[in-house]
């Protein structure tokens, strides 16, 4: 099965590990991702002002281009890209005025027929958790993993239609399927502070400390996410938090696809595990 794929800017540089492990894992599960021939940044954030059409132009162009490929779907793994593509698609589908404006500007005739999908959905719905259980031959038994969704994947539920916005479980189901142990904690849909890393650093430090402490208090040994900005904030901030609070316990922050790739016994060096601030390899080598 081949599906068009939109990697997103960050996955071509800073989050290459997410790109490589997504392609690698899905290939091992029989799904080939074919990158769109030409794409730009999706815009990263959905414009919340009703009169801001220009903020949707890039995502609309990407969707219109995806409609020219076969498959009717567009896979994207970065939570921001997924959020923007899905919401802009929702607008084009349901808001005729916006649809006309965007199409007039782009000189396209796109009506929202593409379905943006996330690899978590592909794992559950297209591949199936049983098939994954079978193919995940590496023994991850005893590895305690906390799943972190953040904000962009699940909210707003009416448009994202992804999973329960207060208590999503799709990542946990995958973790169980590959044989690791799920750790329940309270902060899995809390925001990490997002782009405030550039404006209000303290906010991000505070949020990250809350989220990580909550997970480690429940015994988590690793956190997984699908968002490169969550990954960065949760990972990079730990050294700074440790400097302020000597009792702070560091914890590796991985992409869920890296863990999946590990379980599917992809070559470790293909997963980008060496690119994290808190090195996950000592933990995973034993796994």
């Amino acid at each position: 099965m081949r599906i068009p794929y939109f990697p997103g800017c960050t996955l071509h540089s800073k989050a290459k590990g997410l790109d490589d492990s997504t392609r690698g894992s899905l290939a091992a599960l029989g799904i080939e991702l074919t990158e769109l021939p030409q794409w730009t940044c999706c815009g990263t954030v959905f414009p919340l002002a009703q009169d801001n059409y220009i903020g949707m132009v890039a995502a609309a162009r990407i969707l219109a281009n995806a409609a020219k490929e076969e498959g009717g779907k567009l896979v994207t793994v970065c939570s921001f890209c997924y959020h923007v593509l899905k919401r802009v698609n929702y607008v084009i589908k349901n808001n005729l005025e916006a649809r006309k404006k965007l199409n007039d500007y782009l000189e396209e005739n796109y009506t929202g027929e593409i379905e943006p999908v996330h690899p978590l959905e592909i794992c559950k719905e297209n591949v199936g958790l049983d098939a994954i259980r079978e193919k995940a031959t590496k023994n991850l038994k005893g590895l305690k993993v906390a799943c972190y969704y953040g904000c962009m994947l699940v909210r707003p539920a009416s448009e994202m239609n992804f999973d329960d916005p207060e208590n999503p479980t799709i990542m946990e189901e995958l973790v169980s399927a590959i044989g690791a142990e799920v750790v329940e904690y309270s902060y899995k849909t809390t925001c990490c502070g997002s782009y405030q890393i550039l404006y209000d650093n303290d906010l991000v430090m505070q949020k990250v400390e809350e989220i990580l402490n909550s997970a480690t208090a429940k015994g988590a040994e690793a956190i997984i996410t699908s968002c490169p900005l969550c990954q960065f904030n949760l990972d990079w901030s730990q050294e700074k938090i440790l400097q302020k609070n000597a009792g702070f316990q560091k914890i590796p922050v991985l992409y869920f696809t890296q863990l999946l790739g590990l379980a599917l016994e992809l070559p470790q060096e293909s997963l980008g595990l060496d690119k994290h601030y808190v090195d996950p390899r000592p933990l995973l080598v034993g796994a």
Partner: protein
């Protein structure tokens, strides 16, 4: 407050915010669920509930708060509002009114080099879109 309520400026402000956000702040019943959930609540000068009240009253000070800039548009307020108000859109309207007049808080030249060269570029793109004019 009574003066603010009757002034033309404040009525215009309410209308302007309504138009940009597509939301009716008057639906808010001041329960405070948004404030209790808010990501930035501890850093904000006025909690989301208070900002909502200021918009209801047409208090133009709502345009000069730190709160709207600290908002990370995580949408948890929107998701939990029992009155179905998309509070994040109201916060965005306050930002957008400022940004369209050139008032911004994220200035490219002032981002520390350590962050500028380390953060994933999506942080810059999203930060610029939400916080720079």
């Amino acid at each position: 407050m009574a003066k603010d309520l009757s002034s033309k400026i404040s009525r215009d402000l309410i209308e302007h915010i309504k138009e940009i956000s597509g939301q009716n702040a008057n639906l808010c019943m001041q329960c405070g669920t948004c404030s209790a959930s808010c990501t930035g609540r501890e850093i904000m000068d006025f909690s989301p509930r208070m900002v909502m009240r200021m918009i209801q009253l047409g208090n133009s000070k709502a345009l000069n708060l730190k709160s709207m800039w600290v908002c990370s548009t995580c949408l948890i307020c929107t998701a939990r509002c029992p009155r179905g108000i998309d509070i994040a859109r109201l916060m965005e309207a306050l930002r957008v009114i400022n940004l369209r007049q050139g008032r911004e808080v994220l200035v490219a030249e002032k981002i520390p080099l350590e962050l500028l060269t380390e953060v994933p570029q999506m942080a810059l793109t999203s930060g610029f879109r939400k916080l720079s004019a």
